[in-house]
Amino acid sequence: MLRKIRITLATVCFVLINLLFLGVSWGLSQHIAWVAKIQFLPALLALDYAMLLVLIVVTLLFGRIYCSVICPLGVMQDLFGWMGKKAKKNRYSHSPEKKWLRYGVLAVFILCLIIGFAPVTTLLAPYSAYGRVVNSLFRPLYDLLNNGLAAFESHYDSYIFSEVQLWMRSVTTFIVALLTLGVLGFLAWRNGRTYCNTICPVGTILSFFSRFSLLRVQMDKDKCKNCSLCEKNCKASAIDFKAGTVDASRCVACGDCLEVCHFDALHYKPSVFSHQHSAGSDLHQPDMSKRAFVTGAVLATGAAAMAQAKIKVDGGMAVIEDKQVPDRETPVTPPGSISAYNMNRHCTACQLCVSACPNNVLRPSTDPLRFMQPEMSFERGYCRPECTRCSQVCPTGAIKPITKEEKTAIHIGHAVWIEQNCIPVTNGDHCGACARHCLAWAIQMVEKEINGKTVEVPVVDTEKCIGCGKCENLCPARPFSAIYVEGNTMHHIN
């Protein structure tokens, strides 16, 4: 019974969170974004104390069902474990709890959280590890399918599927995701929940509470015939049938043992209240000192290659060189994230915002200090005024929810003009694309004498500029735009 309930609930959560990460449709996503917000670490980073309390109370009542139902990485490992058990039955065995490893990793994790060293926290966080797997590995496949269907339906004047761009947002994140899937899949196939009970910081935190849970799996030694099936089927290696114990700190309340026991020796039932006390943890959101992300920046320059045919024949299409990412002194982070600093402190790099971004603006950073956390760039699109999706899906408070109206008053960065790339300067063509497209009327064209010629070039009113990136995106200079967005260290609001 426990197993069936667990599988049903886990399926619902798992399917929903996968739909969310695949970015199936915004119409659906905005209604199921809660499934990311009930995740433990995101709730912690979002300082959502109510949610944390609920999760802790649930664990105190039922044990670590969080790990079996809500955590997508746990469910993913269960899938691998299930396949592993198909290959070889009764493959697990008991092992003692590796406390030094669990607490060691947790200590490192908390330390990194306090000092704000994001690369470690984002790598260890289970929910975001799963997010990266889906976003980097499965989403491209889904997009491929979508584009195939779009190509198919386009023959029938049907407009259900709109094409999406398939592109590698970050090679390193892709490799991390591949390793995550490979290593965890292998471990889960062989030994079940190894990761959850040795490395996972959330697993370790919840295990504090599950030790004292009201309901837990208990063995009735009188009924036990020492057949060892329960131990051999415990993916958490938590059952020692000889000693007749079930380690409640590692048990994820999956119910598999209850089903395999032929002698009714295992029960999921209330425990004796002998050890019960409230386990306060030190896990308050620490007061953190501010740190700037100044990376050595060299202004990117590039000649605009726009060759024109000498003898004009009809037709043909000019080659369009791909845009390249400029080196930004301060990263540009989405409206709602307050500052790159705030983003760095709260983001678990789950890639949900990257999945949700319909404009191909967000992508995981390759900067070691902001590893895999989202940043904005405008080679393929710009931050459109009507879109607030990333702010609505973010479960950790790294991007706080904002409305379209609020967005218009948030200045995430400011445009910077690079004279030597600008088309009127390089080839004399009249342009003004940046000024014409500016959403904030922050750019105007003024006459300027350059190399003895009077040309119209843009000037930016940085007080008006909101940093949406439209000018950078639509600037005809390639591969480097003649106008690009520098992030504001802290978003200006007015």
Binding site: A150, K310, G315, M317, I320, D429, C431
Partner: protein, 468 residues
């Protein structure tokens, strides 16, 4: 069986079944029927050139939209080479069915049209067809006599012939090289002595008819015809844009253009025979909104929108040949059928069609004919692709109105935006127009392309922002 054989076999099958169908009057619906309007043994209408006595087919094959190997034309697949097999098949079919007029230019199909035309035609006796090509010395870089002569000689070489039946001064009235219509005409043909040289070539028999193609204002036409009236030069023929939309509305659609009615009148009264271009406005007149198609079919169910347009263009007596840039065999078969023989428009039908034209004009489509003269845009835009998508939505009656918010608006909005991304890759869409104006002088329809691009950009942006 290669494709040519396959086509031959299926053509034979079509012929066989059509005989069968006529015999039985009852087809099981499985065998292919002849295309609408096709009938056995009917022959192409011919017109006589008063200068040379040439018996010219009323349908001329325009070699401007030749098929490419990747499918469609070079507009859809600009990097794909011309499908020479398909061109050969169409040319063979055309000749077999009485089409004997072939019109090309050194700049068509990215400069590859003449060569493909030459390959296809040289497989037939030279006397069995007329070749028309142009002096397309648009770039000021090749305005010199030497460069322009080289262009003509190159045409002869590519077309594998030693004479041109109809040579046109290409695109008079358009301006270019920073000069107005008259200035560009003088720069290209008069000041360099090119026109005199061409007259000399005509005397030598290397050119049989010397004429011009025209896109411009009444004043520009007047100055070209003055040369004729004053006896300085003799225009043997002229190529003009004529269709039921341009008859009265060319000038209203664009103030810099001249109504076809005026062009026709001016040339007719001087006895200059005319060739017609854009009888379908780049196919737009063949793809009408349902309501317009319904009215045409109701008027006479035998005629498709394309057939109505061809009948209109072919009816005036001063027309020598109606040139149609055909890409697909089916279109060629249908057009041949329409002119085999031409059923001239009655006065009443003519009147009715011109009333219908008013309603089509009111739809305010962008008058792009996808001639591709504007391409390549130096900044990578697919100009004809953008206009085609916009016009398609007008023609299909699915243009979302910007202030709409109902279900139909949402459906149309999605169809417009998704269809736009399908038709034109995002880096080639209207928002990338910088207004450099390089295209403006190339457009024979005189569309203010940058202005239209910016209008479409704003429209698309409003649609994108209007997500509920």
């Amino acid at each position: 069986m290669d494709r040519r054989e396959f086509i031959k076999h299926s053509a034979a099958a079509v012929a066989a079944t059509s005989v069968l169908a006529t015999a039985c009057k009852n087809n099981n619906g499985k065998s292919p029927l002849p295309l609408e309007g096709e009938s056995e043994g009917a022959s192409m209408s011919l017109r006589t050139n008063p200068n040379t006595g040439d018996q010219v087919s009323l349908l001329g094959f325009g070699m401007m939209r030749l098929p490419v190997q990747a499918g469609g034309t070079a507009r859809e697949n600009p990097d794909s080479p011309i499908d020479q097999d398909a061109v050969n098949e169409m040319v063979d079919y055309a000749l077999e069915h009485g089409v004997n007029f072939f019109d090309t230019s050194p700049v068509y199909c990215q400069g590859l049209s003449e060569r493909a035309t030459g390959i296809a035609l040289s497989r037939h006796p030279r006397k069995s067809y007329y070749i028309s090509t142009k002096l397309s010395n648009f770039s000021p870089e090749i305005w010199s006599l030497k460069e322009s002569k080289a262009m003509f000689e190159h045409s002869l070489k590519d077309l594998q012939t030693d004479y041109i039946d109809y040579l046109l001064l290409h695109g008079l009235g358009m301006g270019g090289g920073g000069r107005d219509a008259d200035g560009a005409f003088r720069g290209r043909f008069i000041e360099n002595g090119l026109l005199d040289w061409l007259v000399e070539q005509k005397r030598k028999g290397r050119i049989r008819n010397l004429g011009f193609s025209f896109h411009g204002s009444p004043e520009a036409l007047a100055s070209i015809l003055r040369l004729h009236d004053e006896g300085k030069y003799h225009w043997d023929f002229a190529l003009i844009e004529l269709n039921y939309l341009d008859w009265h509305y060319a000038n209203e659609i664009n103030a810099r253009n001249t109504d076809a009615e005026y062009l026709y009148g001016e040339l007719e009264k001087r006895g200059i025979p005319m060739l017609v271009m854009e009888p379908l406005l780049g196919g737009r007149l063949a793809k009408q909104p349902d309501a317009i198609t319904a009215r045409m079919r109701k008027k006479d169910s035998r005629f498709s929108p394309a057939a109505w347009a061809f009948r209109f263009a072919g009816t005036p007596k001063g027309i020598l040949s109606v040139l149609s840039g055909m890409t697909y065999m089916e279109h060629m078969r249908e057009n041949i059928a329409t002119y085999s023989p031409l059923v001239p428009l009655s006065d009443e039908e003519n009147e009715w069609l011109l009333t219908l034209a008013r309603d089509i004009y009111e739809l305010k489509a962008i008058p792009c004919t996808a001639c591709n003269y504007c391409m390549p845009c130096p900044y990578g835009l697919n100009i004809p692709g953008i206009f085609a998508h916009y016009n398609k939505c007008i023609a299909e009656g699915t243009m979302p109105s910007v202030d709409g918010r109902d279900n139909e608006f949402q459906r149309n909005r999605r169809a417009f935006l998704v269809g736009y991304d399908r038709a034109v890759p995002s880096v080639r869409q209207a928002d990338h127009c910088i207004g450099c104006d390089h295209c403006v002088s190339h457009c024979p329809q005189r569309i203010d392309i940058p202005k239209e691009m910016q209008r479409i950009d704003r429209f698309v942006d409003q649609l994108r922002q209007a997500n509920s």
